[in-house]
């Protein structure tokens, strides 16, 4: 009879937590998945792409999941830049038809529930508890303390409890942002706000951004038309997402917390402005806001990851460790990969009966050698390309695209669906970074045709 309640406690039933709990359960470990929401996913405020290549490593039958209904296409895309007064230009890019099947648009409260269900099916125990503190004995973490001071014990705690991680703080491994350590207020943190409008399937489909294919899935031609700008209120990014299968339009705006502090403008004001832009206003005319959501993320901050992600009896990963891709704002795939590694180490620890840093320190090498570690360096690369090569702007942009393809998308997570080096998504996703270089971008775009690529650069007024 073990002195512990469980072999492993996983805190947070997000993609990382459910991945970790599923893998632990599959290895025959006695695992608790601790989630503070009554239903996993209920607290989740985000929704966007998930990456099936990573998910198949954990849940081989993910392709049959009921939440797979909306796919972006890479047939074409727009990257727009907008001034405060609404003046905009769009870079339309067309690489020819090639459909991304492996990165569906999802609502995370649906998917997170499914992922946790898979963990339970594999044998994990799902507990509805809010993990508030850690049990620390002789520098070893031996469990968690939940509401009412109740203790749940295990020789290994895997914490992936999200951006506002309590476990990260208690363990002393919190990413820099949580101690502020002499940095500016809100620096490196982005606030996302999303307005959702329920219009019904027919009306959303009639907007012409998505069409239903014979396979029964919607294919969305403008899932992520990314708009960016920098002006009075600071730098911002926005995109709209149409989900006909759910009858919803979601408009998302992202802005740096430091900029919001400077302008004293609530993020709802930025959204009100964005909605008043004629392109948006006419689509949403007469529609009533159905619900709104807001969350924080790390964006445009490289090396936001905690200095250390392990302790005796403890692993930290996902948003809790700052593992959000500073390049594009995605983090779910990184969290899931870390969940797989954490489960591998959990098994090894049990076999050796050693839960100390001797074994767990390998965690860092594991994720750093995966695409997560490589992503970390990309924003720097991007900056170097953009700024150091500025005199030859056209060359710079081509290098940026090259870097996207070779660096970021060569990782395991992406290799399947980004195998095509001409993938448009790379272009779409660098928009937030490129907006910083807006004044330089116009000459760059003018040079695009001269590059001999098949980019269709278009300067469109209004």
């Amino acid at each position: 009879m073990s002195q512990y309640d469980y072999d492993v406690i996983v805190v947070g039933a997000g993609p990382g937590g459910s991945a970790c709990a599923t893998m632990c359960a599959k290895k025959g470990l006695n695992v608790a998945l601790v989630e503070r929401a009554a239903v996993p996913g209920q607290k989740n405020m985000s929704g966007s792409m998930l990456f099936l290549p990573v998910m198949r490593r954990i849940w081989p039958d993910v392709d049959d999941a009921p939440w797979l209904y909306n796919y972006p296409t890479i047939e074409g895309g727009d990257m727009g830049f907008m001034a405060d007064d609404g003046w905009s230009f769009t870079l339309g890019v067309h690489f020819g038809a090639d459909i991304i099947y492996d990165a569906p648009m999802v609502f995370r409260n649906e998917t997170d529930q499914w992922m946790a269900e898979q963990a339970v099916k594999a044998g994990a125990h799902l507990l509805c508890e809010c993990a508030r503190d850690l049990i620390i004995e002789d520098d070893f973490i031996k469990g968690i303390i939940v509401d009412d001071g109740k203790k749940i014990t295990a020789p290994l705690v895997c914490a992936c409890d999200g951006f506002n991680s309590l476990m990260a703080k208690r363990s002393g491994l919190a990413p820099v942002r949580q101690d502020r350590g002499g940095r500016g207020i809100g620096e490196g943190i982005t606030q996302a706000i999303k307005y959702c409008y329920y219009m019904g399937e027919e009306k959303v489909a009639s907007l012409g951004t998505a069409e239903k294919w014979e396979d029964g899935h919607y294919h969305d031609y403008s899932s992520m038309p990314v708009w960016s700008g920098i002006g009075e209120g600071g730098a911002w990014t926005a995109h709209a997402l149409a989900v006909p299968a759910r009858g919803l339009i979601t408009v998302a705006v992202y802005q740096h917390v430091s900029d919001l502090c400077k302008s004293k403008a609530n993020i709802h004001q930025r959204m009100a402005w964005f909605l008043s832009i004629p392109q948006n206003a006419h689509r949403l005319e007469g529609e009533e806001l159905t619900y709104f959501e807001t969350h924080l993320l790390t964006w445009e901050r490289a090396h936001a990851v905690s200095d250390k992600t392990y302790r005796n009896g403890f692993l930290l990963f996902g948003d809790a460790a700052g593992m959000i891709n500073a390049f594009d704002g995605y983090g779910a795939d990184a969290a899931m990969v870390c969940g797989i590694y954490a489960a591998e180490l959990a098994e090894e620890c049990k076999q050796k009966n050693d839960y100390s840093e001797n074994v767990l320190s390998r965690f860092e090498d594991m994720w750093k050698n995966d695409f997560i570690g490589r992503n970390e360096e990309l924003p720097f690369e991007l900056g170097r390309f953009l700024f150091e090569k500025e005199p030859d702007a056209g060359e710079g942009l081509r290098d940026v695209i090259d870097a996207c393809m070779r660096g970021k998308f060569a990782g395991d997570a992406y290799i399947d669906w980004f195998a095509d080096p001409q993938c448009i998504s790379g272009m779409l996703r660098i928009a937030p970074q490129l907006n910083r270089a807006l004044p330089m971008l116009v000459p760059m775009l003018q040079n695009i045709n001269a590059l001999g690529t098949n980019l269709l650069g278009g300067l469109i007024n209004g």
């Binding site: 009554a38 209920q42 508890e129 959702c196 919001l260 502090c261 993020i267």
Partner: protein
């Protein structure tokens, strides 16, 4: 120049002023968001966020910037007065310029904000 005039016409409805200064916060925001999200009543930890009045310098940033309008000024200090509508986004703990002025944690499990699903 002609193009600039044309653009001005096209976008005359775009309100640029809204990007500066506190305009949509507190009671106005709470009214606007009424019924747009769901919060399950918090029983054990209704005050999961607290402002330490000794450390608050009364700058009002949390009042202006909280996306749910949870804060209000009382006697020159910020108070987390409308916790019932809190989204638990964590924003306030990062906008506060004073160290440890906002004591932030989550409500008890199974309560607080939940996604409203149509």
């Amino acid at each position: 120049m002609a193009r600039a005039e044309h653009i001005k016409d096209c976008y005359s409805d775009v309100n640029v002023d809204i990007l500066k200064g506190p305009q949509l916060y507190g009671p106005k925001l709470r009214e606007m968001l009424k019924g747009k999200y769901e919060v399950i009543e918090k029983k054990k930890y209704p005050d999961h966020i607290k402002v330490n009045p000794d450390r608050c310098n009364g700058c009002g940033d949390c009042v202006y910037l909280c996306p749910c309008g949870c804060y209000e000024m009382q006697d020159g200090k910020a108070v987390w007065a409308y916790g019932g509508v809190c989204f638990e986004c964590g924003f306030c703990q990062y906008v506060c310029s004073q160290v440890h002025a906002i004591d932030w944690t989550y409500p008890e499990a199974g309560t607080g904000s939940v996604m409203k699903w149509s």
